[in-house]
Symmetry: C2
Subunit: 433 residues, 2 copies
Amino acid sequence: MTTPSSNDLAHLISRRDRAFGAGAPLFYDSPLHIVRGEGVHLFDNEGRRYVDLYNNVACVGHCHPRVVDAVSRQASTLNTHSRYIHEGAIALAERLAALHGPQIESVLFSCSGTEANEAALRMAQMVTGRKGIVCTDKTYHGNSDLVSRLSLVGTVQPESEAVHAFPFPQKYRPIRPGLSEDELCDAYLERLEDAIRRFEQSGVGFAALILCSIFANEGLPDIPRGFMEKATLMVHRAGGLVIADEVQAGYARTGNWWGYEVSGFTPDIVVTGKPMGNGVPLAATATSRAILEAFRARTRYFNTFASSPLQAAAGTAVLDVIEDEGLRENVASVGAMLKQALIDRRGASAHIGDVRGTGLFLGVEIVKYGPDHEPDAELAFTLSNKLKNLGFLTSNAGALDNMIKIRPPLVFSHADAEEFLDAWDRAVAQLHG
Amino acid sequence: MTTPSSNDLAHLISRRDRAFGAGAPLFYDSPLHIVRGEGVHLFDNEGRRYVDLYNNVACVGHCHPRVVDAVSRQASTLNTHSRYIHEGAIALAERLAALHGPQIESVLFSCSGTEANEAALRMAQMVTGRKGIVCTDKTYHGNSDLVSRLSLVGTVQPESEAVHAFPFPQKYRPIRPGLSEDELCDAYLERLEDAIRRFEQSGVGFAALILCSIFANEGLPDIPRGFMEKATLMVHRAGGLVIADEVQAGYARTGNWWGYEVSGFTPDIVVTGKPMGNGVPLAATATSRAILEAFRARTRYFNTFASSPLQAAAGTAVLDVIEDEGLRENVASVGAMLKQALIDRRGASAHIGDVRGTGLFLGVEIVKYGPDHEPDAELAFTLSNKLKNLGFLTSNAGALDNMIKIRPPLVFSHADAEEFLDAWDRAVAQLHG
């Protein structure tokens, strides 16, 4: 017998399958019906509380009162397009640019990471006069025709004329065994160089390397020392640009403003998205004034909903909260504690393969028994569901789908972390039950 | 000497040029610094009131209290992604689908008209297994790599392997002179057929015809009788789909829910955007469940900010207001009055070439003296600026940039129309001053 609430859920899922088409993604073995959010907590339709360790959009916490207030006030004052002058978006662009080095001067706002990556790729193609884009083999940068051609190249889809992939750099499952760290770095650089060279040989030409600054979708790998700096140098020597996709990596997620500070390189174009508006659709492509103006001259780009007073209000409130509540410091402190605690717990189960990440973006690889740390995506899904049943929301992700992805709102506290670690211990113990 | 306020404006423009890159579009000879909106009115930084005859995003009026309230309440309750279940977006999708015929069952939400058109084009390509898209020669459907290939094909950019254009149907500047209406219809159909046939001959194959249901960017032409119905039949016979871009045409703009009701055809895929959220970024691609599910199966499409509780709250409030305030009826009534009044005023100036459109989306062609009604884009810009200086916001648009585009919020009243007509008379008289 099903309970009334599971009947309700089944009915909602059936309505959803028709309204959105079956196949619209849902989390967990039994999906959650979430109706309220507050800080690091989400609540379902029966009032059950979940600690959110997944959502980076609500970066300053679900329904943060300062963001809600800013959005409400702006929505009741003015919200229109950017062909009139309004100071809000101008000031937000200035503030964003100032959070980068001097090479970043100007900002193109848009409504999604996909739109922002589209603009970045097209800027690079226009400025270089060449088409070739290099990405990693296990990445995702968005859902448009152009950007989706970068998804999982070499596995789900083949390389195309203008998209080449190279294996993402990592130390846990190295491209070749038995190399020193310097040799491993060189091995990945060779593959990058090969991807670039093939564009030069084909006549397509090389425009840009695009990557998530911390390789989030790949699984937050530990990167061979020096790789990012050398890769950037290689790209520039080949006349290309480096695009840092900071949609997941940026906005204090690592305890730094930007992921590229962690992995150690200087991008020419920076793309931001998810956390920028704490839920108000807002994304940005930031670069030099010369690059942005070349793009504007060629495209006459206009985006109806972008650079609006509403985006500006939400985006400004988010930056205010990050600064006023000391969230970079919080992320660094809680993240370091949580990572160390997870490392300390590795011995609790032979299924815990590796613990990686920085700040409040951590990943734990789930593996099969044995010396080869063979990935176990099914078990990671099981663990994520066990954690959910205990009231803690994570997901399985990474190149091999076997990584528990831990990415709570930036306001996640030491106490929240302790609470999660208790649940972690119980859930991991259940894997052996 | 400049006044303090013009200094302020110059300073803001200089900041904007750096922050956004010079070339970010602005309206009017001297841009407006808008700080507040209410109903059909916008107010600048010096408190000057403008009657808005341009903005279709704020479709139920700037800062409509019911929309503001719905957005504020939802932002303070829950705003997260759609991998949890939430009834809001499901119900909005159901309601949207119900506003179309039975061929439209399911909805893919996104954040912009560009994203929604991207999805529509890719759906058509996936379902047909062919790539060729036909559009008109004077259109604009968005700013992504794929969608921008449809912009002004044959003028600004050439046809490409997968994009062919045909001349948009019109009676005012017909493709060939001296034809009867039926012959003119056939002449345009021949050009459409030729665009389709060239895809079949090249091996690219024909996937879809995409068009704005009322050819808004082309200039709201009067369409030869029967064209749209016959074009749809031709597309279907060739195995293609018809995509109606209702970003401008839909949402009661014509006094009907959809522009395709005015021009008389039944689309397979319907794209909506701008007015859906009264300023909250929200767009949709609506089609049959089978087509959407084929797309989902192929793409695993996910859009972080889309199908969110916030989008649902804004979108639902907008539909509520359109229905509860009888806005379709208002649009039909005020629009008919305004159009007739503008027609009646044609004789006031030999520069008034033609008055077209339906509901609260009207266009007036500005032409040079003489029998050839040669377009005068410069004079249209002048007239638009004169109207702005009198406190009435329009723009010049259309295939030849010589059309005064009149597209106020749907709450535009008979009194607002009378007020505008007074200004119109004065501005038109000034053209001869």
